[in-house]
Amino acid sequence: MASEAGEGSTAGMDDYETLISTTDVELLKKAWRNEKAAPEILRFETSLIQRIRGQIQLMEENIEEFAGSGIDPLTVSLYQMDLDRTQYLFRSYLRIRLQKIEKYMFHISKNPEVQSRLSEQEKGFAIRCADDMERHLEESVLSKLPDNYQDIVKQSIISEESDMIPEPQLDSFVVCKSRRFLGPFQLDGSDELLEMKPDELCIIHYKSIRERVQEGDIDLV
């Protein structure tokens, strides 16, 4: 029942061997780890999540059948354990993303590029969240402040930009590992070149490796 990652994956063609032998659960684990370690929200893995959801449902039905049909309880409990583990990864992945959305909801609503990384349901959630928060703040606090200071996103009317929106700290340091040789690339904000050997741990600015994480060359640990 182990489905293989198909065309939905973004790894390069020279990793073809790894690609066809990586199970969906491994991909989910990788996506979960990256999401946990990254300071901003990453792209939603739509096809992966769909496949996993389907597999989980199938497995749940199977277990019900097994439990009814007298297969020995040991096997049933092992299948249940596997299902629990997969469900944990699945739910945790979704929860981390929701946490990040809640944290950065105003930033997301002003930023269409970030919005493109959310799933449809997440977009709806983000909009509702921002609306609710805005209404709540207005009713409880902002309407009682002097006129010049009543905006949600600007400190005062004379602020030139929206400077009260919490934004993800892209220059926080993250621990990462590369899966193969990465030729020298420029670190953000400096002239230094850094190269990475496979399986070497590196603590580095998230900004410097952002695209590579999205392409799947670097894994966050």
């Binding site: 199970t23 996993i52 409990s77 092992l78 583990r85 590196c202």
Partner: protein
Amino acid sequence: MAGQSDPQLSLFSAEEVEFIAEDEMVKIVPNLRMDALNFVCGDFGPFFPQLATQVPLWLAVALKKRGKCTIRPPQWMTVEKLTQVLEAERDSQRVFEQLPFHYVEISRLLFDHARDDIPDVYMVRSLIEDIRDVRFHKVETNLESLNERAFALKINNLSAMEVNIVRPFVGRALQAFYKHDSPDLIPDQDRVSDRRPQVANNATRRHLRR
């Protein structure tokens, strides 16, 4: 606003690190006959009595708990190998020995559930604890020597648990260095909302730690 990352979001709890470690493969010797298991995460088995097979650690522990198998300790978990590693760790100040990424979690799980399958278990256990102490002490001393603005830090052969413990501190320390050690220009009096310091990068250094 100090460069604080939210610890809730980016930290793995110890249990989560163990969860990741539980997918590592180990060899078991089952004592029962069982059909192949088609899990979501992979296919394992079929299982024949006395025929060794590879399964993920969580499955091995589950079977062991129910008395259905014995677990073969991995290659690196022998008194000889571990003594070698311990000597090497003690000898060098900066180099970390090559150990499996999840050695702490794997050994902990095996000690808790498969004690009788490990030869010389008390010796092995004390060796691993010593190795952990020496390594962690090395990490601490090396971190003390962090004293200037670094763009990247390379560490070889650190294990998952060590990374997890050290991560929040190193992240914040490096961030603080980055912020406070950077040559700022004096901020313009008029533009209140301009918060980004202009960074002229003369003093960059990349630390290579082996």
